[in-house]
């Protein structure tokens, strides 16, 4: 090994699947938390990928899990959905135009996904709190774990609306992003939600 490689080698080898298992184990210890809301600090593909991987990991151990993407600002790109799959976007449910079963995309045994089909610029106005509460309560009754993902707090405050219906929050940021001032603002917003912050995640660490 070259000298420079030796000097710059990270002390800790971060293994992705190992970390996901760790997060899962720590979440499982919180027995009251069944509806987990991931709050992103910034819009990031890496953060969305982490959220989806953590959600999937629960289905692997036999927990009936549903991942709900309530990001109406953009299309969900972290998962390939068969063109033949027939499903309604979550926006239809929020507009009272669809049933819960029509939303579900069956991914694997114990793992379903609900996402949007269309995008909207004024997503916050479209979040019908009553319908959202009904949706989440229904999912809570049918699944062991419900994972919610929303647009980042840096983009809009949808996360604060959705956050009212969760049991616990996981806040996700990228390595050294965003700035201290933005993080402080997010910290106080989350505190105001008055929901337990079960933990923090850091994604996109460069090694």
């Amino acid at each position: 090994m070259k000298l420079l490689d030796k000097i710059t080698q990270k002390d800790v080898n971060l293994n992705r699947s190992e970390e996901i298992r760790r997060v899962r184990t720590l979440l499982l210890q919180n027995e009251e938390v069944k509806v987990v809301h991931f709050i992103n600090s910034i819009p990031s593909q890496s953060i969305s990928k982490v959220i989806l991987d953590v959600a999937k990991s629960f289905s692997i151990i036999g927990k009936k899990t549903v991942f709900v993407n309530i990001n109406l600002l953009q299309k969900f790109e972290n998962m390939t959905i068969d063109e033949e799959t027939v499903f309604n976007g979550i926006e239809k449910y929020l507009f009272n135009q669809s049933t819960l079963n029509q939303l579900l995309i069956h991914q694997s045994e114990n793992f379903d996904v609900i996402t949007n089909k269309d995008t909207f610029d004024n997503s916050t106005d479209l979040l019908n709190e009553k319908q959202l509460e009904v949706l989440i309560n229904n999912l809570k009754n049918n699944y062991d774990y419900v994972f919610l993902a929303t647009p980042s707090l840096s983009e809009c405050y949808d996360a604060l609306i959705v956050g009212k219906f969760c049991d616990g929050i996981l806040y996700v940021k990228e390595d050294r992003r965003p700035s201290k001032s933005v993080l402080s603002k997010h910290a106080s917003l989350i505190k105001e939600l008055n929901k337990p912050l079960v933990g923090l995640l850091i994604s996109n660490i460069e090694v």
Binding site: T8, S184, L201, I202, E206
Partner: protein
């Protein structure tokens, strides 16, 4: 309020912990400082190395009456004056002016002598001859009755020279280590406290009053230089 607390709480333990985490970077910068001091000392040593110096003495023996004091002063001054040396250098088309010219007169023996010093033994002989050509008409003009009986130039002689600018290697190395150590500590603290981003997990945890459950690597690897200079 939470933010204010976060910015104000700086303890000595935290400062020491910042230094401990960045020990590798500090060590690297100190080694760089040490190497720089060695290289600079080497350059200084090379530049201040001892240069051989030669001198050539020319004696002019005059015969006849030498009672014109003003004339003698003029000759001695001319021989010592820098313009005589410059004139000789110009005639010989020598650009380097690192030469020295001195003169003396012994009234008892009538011996007029001048000495040229320089690093090149051949050039100083040529300069000496040119100066004689310059001073000869002045002697003939000042002392019409005096005759230049003998003109004699010695062989170039090596002049022992003490090098006063010796390089103090130990002092330079100690200074290099101290200065680079101070710079490294300043760099680490400056980056750590002035960074607009949260650097450590502890800071992130204390801001949110929660624990970091997981850390996930990204796809883009960090450049080696960035890794090396990164404050943790």
């Amino acid at each position: 309020m939470q933010n204010q607390q976060y910015e104000e709480e700086i303890s000595l333990l935290e400062l020491l912990d910042v230094l401990r985490r960045n020990l590798k970077l500090i060590t690297m910068l100190i080694i760089l400082g040490l190497l720089s001091s060695i290289i600079l000392s080497g350059i200084s040593f090379y530049r201040n190395r001892e240069v051989n110096s030669y001198s050539v003495e020319t004696q002019i023996i005059l015969s006849g009456s030498l009672n014109n004091e003003q004339g003698i002063t003029l000759i001695v001054n001319t021989l010592s004056h820098v313009s005589s040396l410059n004139s000789a250098l110009t005639t010989l088309k020598i650009e380097n002016s690192n030469y020295k010219l001195t003169s003396q007169y012994d009234s008892d023996s009538g011996l007029l002598a001048y000495k040229v010093e320089g690093s090149n033994s051949e050039t100083i002989t040529q300069i000496s001859t040119e100066i004689f050509k310059l001073v000869k008409p002045i002697i003939e003009g000042a002392f019409p009755s005096v005759e230049i009986r003998e003109f004699q130039t010695s062989e170039p002689v090596l002049v022992p020279k003490i090098n006063e600018n010796n390089v103090n290697w130990l002092m330079n190395i100690i200074l290099g280590i101290i200065l680079s150590g101070m710079f490294a500590v300043f760099y680490v603290f400056a980056v750590y406290f002035m960074s607009p981003y949260i650097i450590t997990d502890n800071d992130f945890e204390s801001l949110f009053d929660s624990k970091v459950l997981g850390k996930f690597t990204g796809k883009t690897p960090k450049s080696k230089l960035r890794k090396l200079l990164e404050v943790r």
